[in-house]
Structures are given as C-alpha cells and as structure tokens.
Subunit: 348 residues, 2 copies
Amino acid sequence: MLTLVGIGVGGARSMGAGAREAIASARAVYMETFTSPVPAGDVEEVRRAAEEGGAAFRAVPRWAVEDGGEILRAAASGDVALVCYGDPYVATTHIELRARAAAAGTPTRSVHGASALTSVVGECGLHQYKVGRTATVTRAEASTPYGVLRENVERGCHTVLLLEYDEDAGAFMAPREALAALLAVEGERRELALTRETFAVIASRVGTAGQAIAAGSVDHLMGLDAGEPPHSIVVPGALHFTEADALRALARCEGEPRSNSETARREAHRMLARYVPMVGAAMREARERGADERVLDCARDYVADAEEFLRRGREGQAILCIGYADGLVDALRIGAGLEREDGAPDRG
Amino acid sequence: MLTLVGIGVGGARSMGAGAREAIASARAVYMETFTSPVPAGDVEEVRRAAEEGGAAFRAVPRWAVEDGGEILRAAASGDVALVCYGDPYVATTHIELRARAAAAGTPTRSVHGASALTSVVGECGLHQYKVGRTATVTRAEASTPYGVLRENVERGCHTVLLLEYDEDAGAFMAPREALAALLAVEGERRELALTRETFAVIASRVGTAGQAIAAGSVDHLMGLDAGEPPHSIVVPGALHFTEADALRALARCEGEPRSNSETARREAHRMLARYVPMVGAAMREARERGADERVLDCARDYVADAEEFLRRGREGQAILCIGYADGLVDALRIGAGLEREDGAPDRG
C-alpha cells in the first residue's frame, strides 16, 4: 500500500490522526521537500513520528520520486508513506507515482492536506470561484505564466502565481524577480496583463506564524523584501467590493485595492474601440465621394451588429462583423483607386 | 480573537494540533454545516473536543454566519472558533465574516484544511495547473456554470463543478440532475461545452472511506446513482497522456479517457473553418466575373493572414482578418447587384 500524505501549509503540526496513523503504521516513510521549501523542524517532526512507529525514514530528492523504483518496490510488499508539503497532488510527479502504483496493482490512498493554492486565495480575502488557471513563474519561463495571467485578467479572474523553487540549488525565486520577469514579457507583448501600475498581492509563508500578505502596485511590491519562502503572487482580476474590503482588512495594503480587468480589456473591446470610429470615418468619406450606397448601407448595419454582439458578450462574432464592415468599405476605396490608409487590419 | 478552522475533506479525524488547540482554547465554538453536508459523527467529534476544552458548542445555520452578530460580539471579547468543512475560505460568507472582524479590530487567524477543490482534482489524477475557474451548478442557475465550462474547455482547461447543497431543505443536487441541467443549456446555446458524448468524472465523498470516482460519457454517468453527497463533477479539457493513465488507474472508468477540447473547438477555429472556404469560393466566382483584381488580391492576402494569425494563437486578429476579406469580396458582389448569399456573417 502506498499512502500519499499531505501535511498541509501549516507544517507537520497540522497533521491529523489520518496522517499520523499512515506514518506510524508504515514500514518505510519517505519525505520530499523539493516541491516547496519545508522548515527543518517539520522534517524532524515527521522523522520522529516515523521512527516512533518503527518505520525507516528517508528524506528523498526529486529524482527518487520521479524514478520511483525504490518507493514502488517497497509499497508493493508493505505499507509505505510518501509525505509532502501542502496537498500531495498539486505536484504532477506525485500523481504519476500514484498512478504507476495503482496500475501495478498496489493499493493506494491519500491523506489530503491544505494546499497553498486555496489557502493563499483565502488569506488574501479573494473569492475562490473567481480564481482562474494557476501558473508557475520560473527563471526560464515567464511567457507562459504571462499568457495565463492575460487570459485570466481579461475575464475578470484572479491568478495565483507560484514561484520557482530549486531545492538542489537551494534557490527560490523572489517575488520581485518574478514580477520583473513578467514585466519583461509585458515590454515585448504589450497586452497590458501586468504593468508597474497593476494591483497585486504577495502572500508569504501562508499558514505559518510568519505569514505576511502585502498588497499594492507592482512598482511598490518590487521595492519590498518579502523575506523567507514560500511566496506566491496573486494578481486580482475584477474585485468585488467585499473582496476589496477583505484585502484592506487582511493585507498590508499600499493604496486602495483596485481591479485590473478594466485595464487589460478584452481583445474584442480593444478592437471595436479602434475600428468602429475608423470604419465610420471611411463610410462618411465614401458617401461624400458618391460610392455605392448599397455597400455603405450594408457596412452600417454590420457596425451596429458588431456593437450589439459585443454588448451580448459574443466577442468573436463582434470582431467578425467589424472586420466585415471594414472590408466592405475598403473595397470601395480600393475600387476608387484610393489608399487603404490605416483602416485595414494589421498584417501578420 | 476569531479563528476560522477548516477540518478538511477527511472530516474531524483530519484535524491537526492547530485545529484541536484552537477548539480546546476557545470560549465558544461554532460549527457550520451549510456549505457542505457533514456527517453527524464529525459534528459530534468537534462538539466533544469543544466541551472537553470547556467551550460552549453550537451548530449554526447559514443566517447566523451571514448575520454574524453573535459570533463577532463573542470574538471581540474572547477566543472564538468557527469550524467548517474543507478549507474555511472557499465559502465567501466566511471571508466576509473574517474581514468584518478584522475591520472591527478583532484579531483573526486561520487553520487551513484540505479543500474539495484541490482534493477532487488530485483524486481524479488530473493536473492542478490545468484547472480553470470553478462554478457551482444549482437548480436555479446552470447557465453561468455552462459558460465557465465552455471558456475552460475551449482553452484546454479542466473544470470542477460543485453542486448545490441546501441544508435547510436537506437537499443536495445529484450529479445526474446537474448534468441534465447543463445539457438543457447546451440544447439552447449549442456551443458544444457539454454533450451526451462529453467525457466527465463524478467524484463522490472524496477524502472519506466511501470515496468513489466514476468516469465516462455524460450519457453513461447520467445512468449512475452516485449515492450520498458530497459530489463534484469534473469535466476534463485537454488530457495529457499521463492524466489519461492516472484516470484509468484511479477511476471506475467506462471506456477510454478522452479529451473534450477538440470538440469544443475555440470560436476562431470554428469561424475560420467556416469562412475560409466560403470566401475562397466567392473569390473564384468574382474573378471569373471579371471583378476588380486589386480588391481580390487584397482579400487573398487577408485570408492567408487569418490562417497565419490562427496558427500563432492570435485568435481575435485571425477573426478580424477573415471578416475583412469576406467584406472585401462581398462588396464586389453587392456592387455587381448579386445576392450576398451565405457568405456574410450571421446578423445579430
């Protein structure tokens, strides 16, 4: 039997009877500390619980879980516990290890723990059902988390960003490093997902006595030393007033909490804001020139449709209609031998 | 001091030292059971822990937490614990109560518990970082969760759907009821977010001895009696092969696990699949008719741009370009006195 035990964000003290029994009754207890920094005291407490129960205890590095050979062999013939920080299955390596055990016919079970993903959101006072996809910022990769952040913030969703932790190098990414990496992507892509003015939150050491929640502009947060890990960054999307109240009450907050989703407006809104006036001006100019009224009437109808689709949240259809209206009017310009000027969509 | 204590998904047995101390040292312990069904044995265990510590214990209904007057008054002058299933802050009522206490100057703290949101995903063997926004299906409201599901599945994200629980009526929504409600929305909106063929998972009583994970087509799942609550439904987006392996190993799985994100193709893909051939046919017809070559060349370039933008994931820009090309060609048709036929975008 392989039991995956999450000790939660509160450390070994937050282990309940289920976790302690799984550890005490195991023949071998493995503990991994590569998915998140774990205080030495917590490792010692798990070691003590294991040894009191007569189990062999071993702290294991990443490769031992990824390879999994020793753990799976031990679990095939006796009770084995793999102990982790938070909830066991936030790390995909643990899911894969469990699936391999189950596929080989070894019984598996879980003792769930409080995950940073839910705990962090709660400690910031944000509504869980507004949280979008999560991403991890690493030194090698800020472009993927930037894309996740953009999709979330455009939809009014909050984003929890986890930060790289490299146990072998003893290195964790500081929040200000992660923010700088995201700003660098913003500089290239300019999609307004994260700017120096974005309101964000740094949640540090959540669930422990040293917990700290700092909120404010990215500019402000980059000036802070967030101290010891683990840290997460939360970027709110649209803030409900009760969320703003909660942030004010629970966080060390520079300035007033504010929504970011108005800035990072959805693409359809940005496009219509740009093209509706341009198509309107081109239509007036064409009408004065005596261009084909049938085409102009049709274009006028599709501009109105684009705006109506946008109001109804049918964004793709809104973009299609404004593109179509733009094409109708520009065909008249091209036919009259005029330049298309700025009115045509950007080329690839 | 107000301490919010989450007992996790494993019930009162999963309470650790932090939770037990918060309960034992409180003057008053309130326990709410309206956010999720809690077994009577768990309520009794918390009551015992409270009374052993000399605290007054009270099970409280929803209004007592929403109103909050009694709890906040007690917490202003002594130690009070509010005990909940899962993690305390998945319920927005608890965040608001805490924020009100903090704003009134009452110290607050949390003992986090394992939430169903993370536990369910792990027990299904799915990758946490691919989980999109969560929604709750209720008898009154399946349209919002349908929209959340559509946005997630289009992006390849998994969706965790929580199901209505009405403690006062003693009623929970059965998974098959929730699936039927979502199918009814599908029938109206036809956005392919959830059909009878969609591959989905029902996770029941996660974290307890009676846990069951059933997977298969919606059609298959609607034929099952999922038994006692709590239940959640998980609709996978794009499945990585390791996730499919894990589902096969961990769930009672009817048929092979399969991705849903190919069916619910993103709007831009659907639009280009429809309009690129139509615009191409209209261009050929116009060229044969001797229409203005300058306009046709321009339309051809924009069709190519639309396809290139789609390949690069710039979906809004792809839709704009195909709409523009369509408009260019249709202006020629209108100018020639022809009907626009099926080639024009749908009207609002």
